[in-house]
Symmetry: C2
Subunit: 203 residues, 2 copies
């Protein structure tokens, strides 16, 4: 017998979060009610506001509350370079590395016929149009190196070929700081097949 | 450069949850926005409603949206037996074990002078009044077996002594299913000092 249907309902609601089971959901609910009502109120409001206002960028399909996301709207980015990623989280990661100055295009998934996700759901038509209309010179495909990501990358490259744009894919190999011993076989095989000749100074 | 201030705000808001760092907060935010807006809406509403309506039970101080929690209001519980716990989560755990049929009293913490938590904050006056007015026959102290919990239990026992009520404390020792090898020293020492003579059949 529990003491409150509203608390039960809150615990149940917290379980929609990824990686949150019944124990964590209970801990979160009681923590907010007992010790951080202020934070809970902010969370409830931030969530409501984000769900209401955040949609997709008209140009790159990432999540944003504006019609055009900040990156697409920025004058300081290189609009001739377009990186195709699977999800907005990938943009967060790439932006954090501060290694890329172009714009993006978000597929919001990868090709997965079994789940009914085809080229239409990924907005590939929109990407092709964007490439041809906005004078993009290079498309960098940054799909995840999974079976579905590889299939999506291959399909994209095929579709982009007629437009004559340069199509590249980010490098896969041993991560920096990683130890060879702990790297899986698939990554190692990629690292070998993608090896580069070290330029030698000619004496 | 991130694409949306509202998403940033949501990520920040998720960090008020226990055990949620920046990465998890980002994952939760994007998961809800991309894949489970329905669940996010439910969470936001459940949180708002719980924060607005859930208060403390007039009799036992646990969290509830009613004036008297379900356990205190129940006719099928033994109202002569009162278990004192530190938090509502403890009630959840005890109720799940279905091993207790009495009522509760929630301290909402433990004595901790350094944080300004004294007998007043723990409602000990209210507990003493409840014991004397409601004809409680036994108070079972189920504070956590920590330094502060022990101090709280000791203080409670002292305060309850004049009322003549039976005061007991739940047993501490090796957990069922636990392996002796991995049990810490404090627990083992409790287990030894709390040992019981096995009754032997007299032949």
């Amino acid at each position: 017998m529990n003491s409150s249907p509203l608390i039960e309902q809150l615990i149940e609601a917290f379980r929609c979060l990824p990686g949150v089971g019944p124990k964590s959901a209970q801990r979160m609910s009681l923590h907010l009610l007992e010790r951080n009502r202020e934070g809970g109120k902010k969370l409830s409001e931030a969530l409501e506001e984000a769900l209401e206002k955040v949609g997709n960028c008209r140009s790159c399909r990432t999540l944003t509350e504006e019609e055009l996301c900040r990156i697409c709207a920025s004058g300081s980015r290189n609009h001739k370079l377009c990186c195709v990623v699977e999800s907005p989280a990938d943009i967060f990661a790439i932006e954090q590395s501060a290694s890329y100055q172009g714009i993006y295009f978000v597929l919001m998934g990868h090709l997965s016929p079994i789940d009914g996700i085809g080229p239409e759901q990924l907005g590939i038509e929109q990407l092709l149009e964007k490439v041809s209309k906005e004078g993009i010179e290079e498309v960098i495909i940054a799909c995840n190196p999974t079976v579905e990501g590889d299939a999506t990358a291959y399909y994209l490259a095929e579709q982009l070929r007629p437009s004559g744009v340069v199509v590249s894919r980010i490098a896969h190999g041993v991560p920096i700081g990683g130890e060879l011993e702990y790297v899986d076989g698939g990554t190692l095989s990629h690292a070998f097949s993608g090896r580069k000749v070290i330029e030698q100074n000619q004496g």
